[in-house]
């Protein structure tokens, strides 16, 4: 095998290796997303401690993640979003205290006063690369992914 042929052969091997690693990374992210879905489905949407967990959804746009978090009846001025490592801590007070007993036998006499949840991403978040918008009781977070080295 000549040197050129050898180079071409190794280039092909490296391309195949790169594609395999990308494919494994995508599979891993898919599995983590599905596990997160299962975790979300099994976690109750409220707590006897008096808080509600908001509905949220995440989209991976390649270079950034977009999160939409639904906070109906939240006091817009009280929405608090903090970042710690790869976690987003959301808190928002409700405009009025709320009881499930108006609608259902569930929840007993628990009085709900706020939304609270922790959302994790598969990477550490730099708050300098986060933008937030609010609209009609919903917030949009755009979080830039760290640049791949």
């Amino acid at each position: 095998m000549s040197t050129d042929e050898f180079e071409r052969f190794w280039r092909k091997i490296r391309e195949i290796e790169k594609k395999m690693l990308e494919s494994f990374r995508e599979e891993e992210e898919q599995i983590l997303r599905e596990l997160e879905e299962i975790r979300k489905a099994l976690t109750p949407s409220w707590s006897y401690e008096g808080y509600l967990r908001p509905l949220y959804t995440m989209r991976d746009l390649g270079d950034e993640y977009i999160l939409y978090i639904d906070l109906p009846n939240a006091d817009q001025g009280s929405i608090d979003v903090k970042f710690k490592g790869n976690a987003i801590l959301i808190r928002a007070k409700l405009k009025m205290q709320h009881r499930f007993s108006e609608w259902s036998g569930q929840g007993g006499e628990t009085v709900f006063t706020e939304y609270r949840d922790v959302i994790t991403l598969p990477f550490d978040i730099d708050p300098n690369y986060v933008s937030l918008r609010q609209r009609k009781g919903m917030i949009e977070l755009r979080i830039k992914k760290p640049k791949q080295v």
Partner: protein, 255 residues
């Protein structure tokens, strides 16, 4: 209980004898995109004061659920009716493998009750819903007269694309059974309850039924409804994901 009938693996119960006047419409409301259909149907039932006349259950296809409503024990799929409107309403999405059997059972039942037109309402997931103030409404119908009514109501025909879920199956089965069918879809969130989309949707749908429905309450109480519908939306999402709802975002290659 007036009557109980087995339709394959489904049990249909009527609490009283009732007949439908012509032209009779059936509205199917199941959890789907943005819970648009379910929120709209719930409002319609309240505003038109429809009576709960029956229900459906299946020990094979549905989880063991009993609905307790005003201290009464009810079945997971509930049936409400007025003179010429039958509403089949469920806040629980059956698993995808139940849809074929359920749609055939429903069409058989509709035919026996003299239903002349099946209606369905749903959301059409759009990625930029967060930005939108004006929501568009689309329709798919096999009845020409209804097309004119919906165009007059500001809806546009859904020209090309993919539909996934119970309504997609119902459209196909209704076509096969030669039962006129109409699906009205309004732009909405996929993953969040969307009462504003329900209000827009109901404005068009009510014109087909020929009733006047005030949707102001849906818009004024949108945040309260979103809060109340959180768990229903959360419960529906795994099934929507499992049935590959994201295909609705795709463009067909061949038109």
């Amino acid at each position: 209980m007036f009557r109980e009938v087995d339709f394959g693996e489904f049990k249909l119960t009527e609490y009283e004898c009732f007949r439908m006047k012509e032209p009779a419409y059936a509205l199917l409301a199941m959890p789907d995109t943005g819970l648009v259909g379910v929120i709209g149907a719930s409002h319609l039932i309240k505003v038109l004061n429809l009576k709960e006349v029956g229900g459906m259950d299946s020990y094979v296809y549905l989880p063991p659920i009993a609905v307790i409503s005003k201290k009464e024990i009810r079945l997971p799929i509930r049936i409400f009716a007025s003179d010429n409107l039958l509403v089949v309403y469920s806040e629980f999405m059956p698993p995808p493998q139940a849809f074929p059997a359920l749609s055939r059972v429903l069409l058989d039942y509709f035919e026996r009750k003299g239903i002349s037109h099946v209606l369905m309402a749903s959301g059409l997931a759009v990625q930029n819903r967060f930005e939108l103030s004006q929501l568009k409404t689309y329709y798919i119908t096999t009845k020409l007269e209804v097309e004119e009514i919906l165009k007059g109501a500001g809806a546009q025909p859904f020209e090309n694309g993919f539909l996934v879920g119970p309504y997609a199956l119902m459209l196909k089965e209704a076509l096969r059974a030669e039962m006129p069918v109409t699906l009205v879809m309004t732009e909405s969130f996929l993953e969040f309850p969307d009462p504003e989309a329900s209000a827009k949707n109901l404005e068009a749908l009510s014109k087909v039924i020929g009733v006047t429905v005030d949707v102001k309450e849906l818009i004024e109480r949108a945040e309260a409804i979103r809060m109340r519908a959180r768990d229903a939306m959360k419960a529906a999402m795994p099934n929507l994901t499992r049935m590959r709802k994201e295909y609705e975002y795709s463009m067909p290659l061949n038109i």
